[in-house]
């Protein structure tokens, strides 16, 4: 296995990259002086992958929540479960499913190679039976019930259902109690064989570890993967939103809101680093604590400390989102739109642009302290086709023109929706 070494000129951090003969791309980020090691094995498979051709070229549509269900079930192998094996090494293990990815991870301070062996082994050895699939339904059913009682999550998905008419990002990652009732061992195997191909995955290990140690374990445990081709269904998503406002009543003390501005993105398109950073900088200029709008909204009592925004994006979808608690979400929506229009007319304060760039640069440097953050960051970089940590250079060299382009060309003020969850009147 050939390793390519890269050193970050701004910080001196080192990244090793190599493709294992079995097909798995591997990154290693040794961090001198750290006692912990963190490893994350991720497949490019998430809740949005609902219709696809399987490894056996069979076209199927799967029940909502199956990627998450598969994540739960993968921990159970034929002879014992992965948690029992990790208990022997003292590692702390977990997994999560997102819209586009499913990740399996652990951190440990001892017996690193054994823990890495467990990770690579259990993810390659699924064991689904009618009995163990049935047993998990009770646990995941309670996880879904917990989510259904979460007003924040409900508000978010209520918004996505208005913003997106066809794209599966509109469906809750965990599915519903009814949808998971349709999941069978056969369907889980179909999904597993399709997406858990090492060519469709990436391993990132950071902290107290060397590339040689990782390679040694990979050689012992990884099995060659067949060639990978995947036909994901492209979703035709209309440019418009399906509704502009929706309210739900729940036991909450004051209204929660999610407000989204939908961007038009070609099917499967992933934003460039420059586009991502420009959108994030625009958000800081618009609603950061240094913005005039933030101070005004606080003074008018329309927001509190829960207010924030983010750039929500993935393959074939993106939107500018705002969320928090507000006694009057409609007035807040009007104020945000008015400020966006003002910025379009009057332009961007160049001094503030430079200050926000400085701040974002500092936040990226700070992020390098944390080995878990580093590994997750490199995982994203890999799936987006970026060089590891190249966002640091992107922000350091970004011109204000990129933010103008976002504001004038990408942001559509009219394609928006407001989701509200409030208490009984």
């Amino acid at each position: 296995m050939k390793w390519h070494k890269t050193e970050l000129s701004r910080t001196g951090d080192t990244v090793f990259y190599g493709e294992h003969p079995t097909g798995l791309p591997i990154y290693v980020l040794p961090k001198s002086g750290y006692s912990s090691t963190y490893a994350v094995l991720t497949t490019r498979y998430g809740s949005v992958d609902t219709t696809f051709s399987t490894a056996e070229r069979k076209r199927i549509t799967v029940p909502a929540g199956i990627a998450h269900y598969l994540e739960h079930k993968l921990f159970e192998n034929e002879d014992c479960d992965a948690f029992e094996r990790y208990a022997e090494t003292g590692a702390s293990a977990n997994a999560y499913t997102g819209f586009q990815q499913t990740a399996y991870l652990f951190s440990c301070t001892d017996r690193v190679e054994e823990s890495l062996r467990i990770l690579l082994d259990f993810v390659q050895n699924p064991y689904f039976t009618p009995e163990n699939v049935q047993k998990e339904r009770g646990i995941i059913g309670q996880e879904i019930r917990m989510c259904e009682d979460d007003p924040e999550r409900l508000c978010m998905f209520q918004l996505l259902q208005m913003l997106y008419q066809n794209h599966p990002v509109r469906v809750d990652i965990a599915g519903t109690v009814d949808s998971i009732a349709e999941i069978t061992p056969e369907l889980l195997y179909d999904c597993y064989r399709t997406f858990y191909n090492l060519h469709n995955m990436v391993l990132v290990v950071s902290g107290n570890i060397t590339a040689e140690e990782v390679e040694r374990v990979a050689d012992q445990v990884l099995k060659p993967a067949p060639p990978f081709t995947l036909d994901r269904q492209s979703v035709e998503e209309p440019e418009t939103v399906s509704a502009s406002r929706r309210e739900t009543i729940m036991p909450v003390s004051m209204p929660l809101f999610h407000l989204g501005f939908k961007e038009t993105v070609p099917p499967g398109y992933l934003h460039t680093a420059e586009e991502l950073v420009a959108a994030e900088l625009f958000l800081e200029l618009l609603i950061g604590r240094a913005s005039p709008l933030y101070s005004r909204l606080m003074q008018e009592g329309l927001i509190n400390e829960t207010f924030g925004g983010g750039y929500f994006e993935g393959a074939g979808y993106s939107a500018l989102l705002f969320s928090g608690e507000s006694r009057d979400p409609d007035a807040l929506e009007a104020a945000l739109v008015q400020e966006m229009e003002r910025m379009r007319r009057e332009g961007i304060d160049l001094q503030r642009f430079t200050e926000e760039k400085n701040a974002m640069y500092g936040r990226f440097i700070t992020g390098l302290n944390d080995i878990e953050n580093c590994a997750d960051w490199v995982t994203d970089d890999h799936f987006y086709g970026r060089k590891p940590f190249s966002l640091i250079d992107t922000v350091a060299t970004l011109e204000v023109q990129s933010v103008y382009t976002f504001l004038q060309e990408r942001l559509n003020i009219h394609r928006r929706a407001l989701s509200i969850v409030k208490g009984e009147p």
Binding site: T109, R145, M250, E355, T366
Partner: protein
Amino acid sequence: MVIRTEKLGDGVDFLSIRDSRFKTARLKAAIFLPLAEKTAAKYAILPDLLTRCCALYPDMMQFTRHLNRLYGATVAGGVSRHGEHQLLSLSVSCIDNRFCLNFEDVVEEAARLLLSMLFCPHLDEAGLFAADDFEQEKRCLCERIAAEMNEKRVYARRQSDKLLANGSPYGIPVTGTAEAAAALTREAATAAWKEMLKTAKFQFVYMANDDGERVSRLIEDAFAGQKRMVDFGKTDPTFVPLSVPRRKTEQMPLKQAKLVMGFRLKAHEPDEKAVATGRMLTALFGGGPQSLLFRHVREEMSLCYYCHAVFDRHNGVLTVDSGVDPADTARAEAAILHQLDRICRGDFSQDSFDSSRRSLIHHIRDYENLQSSSIGWYVVQSLTPRFLSPAEAIDRLEAVTREDVCRLAQTVTLTSVYTLLPEGGDTE
């Protein structure tokens, strides 16, 4: 890693951790005050008021722009419970000078800023917190208190704490009550700030790639003009004995029931051996995937997605919380008590015991890999007679035996059972 402690004044202590691994410097002021019903809200508003601006940068916009110029330095304020104390915290974090693009000294400037926030807040001509700042932060505090009900797991835990406290300070909300927050005045908040500077115990913890000497001198100078009369109350928890567990059930329009069980146990700070045993007991009982609650209540019985135990070592309290189907609350309660009973009888495998210890040791070692958790490690020991290093804490854990855990489990008393049910179910 080099650790240095220094006494900078009456009730003012400084601890610096020199560590070159990190790309940032961080300074935290941990401020300890007795937790009391009549003062909780007055103190709780202070971290918000002090971290939004200061006399030098007298509005949020100017203040934040200054932080942005310091390469996105961040300030944070918080309030939490620490035994029977209210712990206010102010912290600042910034990139290390070696990463500045134009060779600025942001580390010293960030430390100065934290002291400005603490000693020179934005006051009006009458010497009171400025009206706009105060009204906004008071509204935010009131909204935060009211919003506790939005997160049902947090809400249920709070209700359980009140039930368990049975009148002791453990039940006092650290933010104060909704009524006390609504009644706050600028005069009261300003007086509370002055009282805090005079009477609170201050523990500063600094972690960076230097020896902390410059920062400790800045802090010493800042306190030089202060007349201090430290009074930070008692450190032993108050126990109000109960003959039977207190029970309470509430209903809300929900899908899932929340079950929270509160236990008292004879283990609390500053008894190092008892605390280590309490940690082992909690890890074995419900502290993670290796625990009995996870293995049996979640995995074998499929009763819940989470069933977790946490140990409050300052109060000698162990809490188990779970989200279950409404029809299963009695089964879940019985299953949780059954697992505790197994520990009392020593009915657990050596593997479970060893893996619980390994899990705890990993978590303690892992503390040292983040600045915030390293600093937190020492902050929570500010009121104990001495600082225990992570290595010493691991030694204490290594010394805990199965018999120690069984003996401690036998002292565990179920004190409260709080259940939050979907509307339409039976309540007691």
